[in-house]
Symmetry: C3
């Protein structure tokens, strides 16, 4: 028992990000003072960064101990657990616009911000960096499949029903079956990984370089991380509506930029670390893979789960979201195509992110 607690303590001390865990009790205290304060929202958002990180570390420790097959499965399932948990909380509170916006934001954030920043700082330190083109190709194709799945319902909705707000039964059926196809392809991707030991979607950070943990300690860490993420996600979602009013932000901007940033901080950290170590293939797999995982697994699972919480959520994203996802996918495909990156390409991707962010900020809510 002491050894388990020691392992957990060492793990918590291994990353300075865990200092941010103090934001969790802070959010509880703030909430008692004034549940409608925007500071509840902000402190809960900050606390989700290390909480998501705990799930990631625990998953990786477990994966390392379980051999490639089960380990790959664990990574593929828990790699974006935080996004999924936040999404479920928002879904239960019927904030479907925020759920979709945070899916969009996770996809474009991983592609442009995470991969772009990795290219930028990696390029500044290491000059021109090469990476595995096959990895880049497979992940890009996966991502593109997801893009198709997100574009087509929006086109059908807009053209057949004249508006992206409408929500007829045809759209629900299209979303339902499309979600099943995406999950099927995602499952096939896992089988592919196990058969070839080449991971098409490596959505999980390899940032825990510290000591190994026992399975027991890892499971305890996973449970604690999941519980904390769930609690903080509930607080975040509860505090969302008043915070938006106070900060003058739209649900779209909050979802695309803020919620998405929180959920992907762990990927961000691991990808940038890999880029600084001149391991661009890993940085690329983390960032593009995580994007694809959001689109192929998190998004369809949330669509299917939405049937449990009232009127189903569709896969119809709004025109800005569809445009942003398409443009980000193409931008990354062009950068990754030639198998090398430099700081200028990184800066260009960041430029695309800033332009998209500006647009999401300025779009009337």
């Amino acid at each position: 028992m002491t050894s388990t607690l020691n392992q957990l303590r060492r793990e918590l001390e291994s990353s300075w990000l865990n200092v941010l865990l103090v934001a969790a009790p802070l959010s509880w205290w703030l909430r008692q003072q004034d549940p409608a304060s925007m500071w509840v929202f902000l402190s809960a958002a900050v606390s989700l960064v290390p909480a998501a990180g705990l799930i990631g570390s625990a998953t990786e420790h477990l994966a390392r101990r379980s051999g490639p097959t089960l380990g790959g499965f664990l990574n593929a399932t828990f790699g974006n657990a935080a996004e999924l948990i936040i999404g479920i909380a928002a879904l239960r509170a019927h904030h479907t616009a925020v759920v979709k916006a945070s899916i969009t934001g996770s996809i474009i954030g991983n592609l442009l911000l995470v991969f772009g920043f990795s290219c930028f700082v990696g390029g500044l330190r290491n000059g021109s960096q090469k990476f595995n083109r096959t990895s880049a190709g497979t992940a890009t194709v996966m991502l593109f499949l997801a893009t198709v799945a997100l574009v087509m319902p929006a086109v059908v909705d807009r053209v057949s029903f004249g508006s992206l707000q409408a929500h007829p039964e045809v759209i629900d059926r299209l979303s339902f079956w499309t979600s099943l196809v995406l999950l099927g392809v995602y499952a096939a991707g896992l089988v592919f990984t196990f058969r070839t030991s080449r991971d098409p979607l490596r959505g999980v950070p390899a940032h825990t370089r510290g000591d190994h943990m026992t399975t027991k300690a890892s499971l305890l860490l996973l449970a604690a991380g999941t519980a904390l993420t769930t609690i903080q996600a509930e607080i975040l979602v509860d505090a969302l509506a008043p915070a938006l009013k106070q900060m003058g932000m739209s649900e779209l901007f909050a979802g695309v930029i803020i919620v998405a940033l929180v959920g992907n901080a762990a990927e961000h950290y691991s990808a940038v670390s890999a880029a600084l170590r001149n391991e661009m293939t890993l940085a690329l797999e983390i960032s593009i893979g995580s994007s694809a995982q959001i689109a192929l697994m998190v998004a369809p699972v949330l669509v299917l789960l939405s049937y449990a919480f009232g009127p189903p959520m569709s896969l119809v994203f709004n025109a800005f979201e569809v445009t942003a996802i398409c443009l980000s996918t193409l931008a990354v495909a062009f950068v990754a195509m030639d198998g090398e990156s430099n700081w200028l390409e990184g800066l260009q991707l960041l430029g695309v992110y800033v332009i998209l962010g500006l647009a999401f900020f300025l779009i009337p809510g």
Copy 2:
């Protein structure tokens, strides 16, 4: 004479697909019973598969005997003869929505279904398969040119005239001149082939591995195949309207999925056979080349021919068709880009096809 008949008999026996020829007399008998039955439509559809195959075989026998220049020309002209014949029949009956839908369906079907299935089964048998990137590049560019030609009239129509249904004179003129440009580039592609002996658009199956046929037998086979295809196409088109009503399908779905499948069955068979033999370059040339041929030759020829049958058909495809063509082209470009394929990429292309097919099925007619 006996020898010619013997050759024809051997040819018919060389492919089990020809068993489906019995569907032709069946469709005649069914039509006598009840011309408005959906079974007439279905049996005519089935009979078109081997009928189109006969034209393909005959063309290839002739091409093999005529040397590369004339042979290439024959392949380029008769390679998609079945699609052209079906298109003309539908055009004469003023089913322009079906004509356009079957053009769309042939393009996306060859790209996603034929090439995707080739990657899938070829990858399952042979593992990761490599192919010639230059072939992939040239075919993709050809296809992209065609995409531009199909996108621009739709944008002009929609933005200038507020609806994709309108049909003003400007659109007709744009369609007419765009068709001439496409045919011009197609002709240049043929010249390129003859000069470099490298085929940018190899739209024709190489599936007749059997004995050689005399020119006389080949011409007889070509005539018989063309006649049968023409008759069955007429029956199909006649039975279309009642069949749609009985089956509750839209013209869009019938054209994009059913008619297109029938016309491309031969390409499907040849491409998949090539992929199983680990000749992925050939599979790619058949599928992508056939798509480009439909777009650069069949579509503009049908636009020009439409002037003979009443109000001209424009090149204005609807928003679903334009989106589906763009997405398919990009999907294949991303897969072909890196010069190798595996079963997962094949499955992903099939996934894109299923999602597009679902959308076409669910779109209200």
Copy 3:
């Protein structure tokens, strides 16, 4: 002094294009006869071709004498000076539709017409031509960033405000900040060049193969070229409105095709010369680099300058322009992707240009 004049004379005699300089006094004379004649517009347009060429030659002479850093900066600044001067003249006369159309036309003209014609004639003379893929990749990414910047305001405008004509404050702010991002990335591109001596955007012709000029003569030539371009641009813009009426052309067509052709004639000449000498990397850098320079530097500078001349110009391009820019970028990316070109690919790009030009010609004004 005599030596300076001699150098200027030799420079003028070094290119047959300079014969077209007689169109300048001709336009002055025609203008005195009848300022509302379309011949004033046409002669001013013709005279701008050599006038722009003079700026280009002078810049290159100066660049060659100033070492790579200052030289690169000069090229990057004056490389598209003619487009900028014409743009300012049109902006001052509140012809914002023409300004945007000429930006669009310069981008697609450099990509499709200049690069396409280079591939075509280079391929006819030299067969299949190879070029540096890294150059192609970097320029394509730069260009794609610009595409995003031009797509997103149009989508926001159209979806949020229902029309591409509206001009609310949100759009102005989005345009303003997006312009700053573009200029920032452009500046970073210059820094990248100076640090790596590898030019990501080589927008300037290398066509003056003649004798070197003294700095004094070069500066004199630059001043003369700039002055002449400014005067002729004013005349062109003044004569625009009556000329459009007489020729029955829309502002859109005049800007996209005619004004853009005039401003890019120098790039056209240099790129094609390079292609004929089998220096396709240079041809590609000139054409794609010039496109990117227009989008990343000329367009944002014009947006920022517009605040000085009355109501600001936005970055909202119309649906045809956005579609044309996206399609052109993708077409060139597909051609450049495989690192080689042939005359057929050139012809295909020209085909895309003709189809887009047809659409712009037929769109009701």
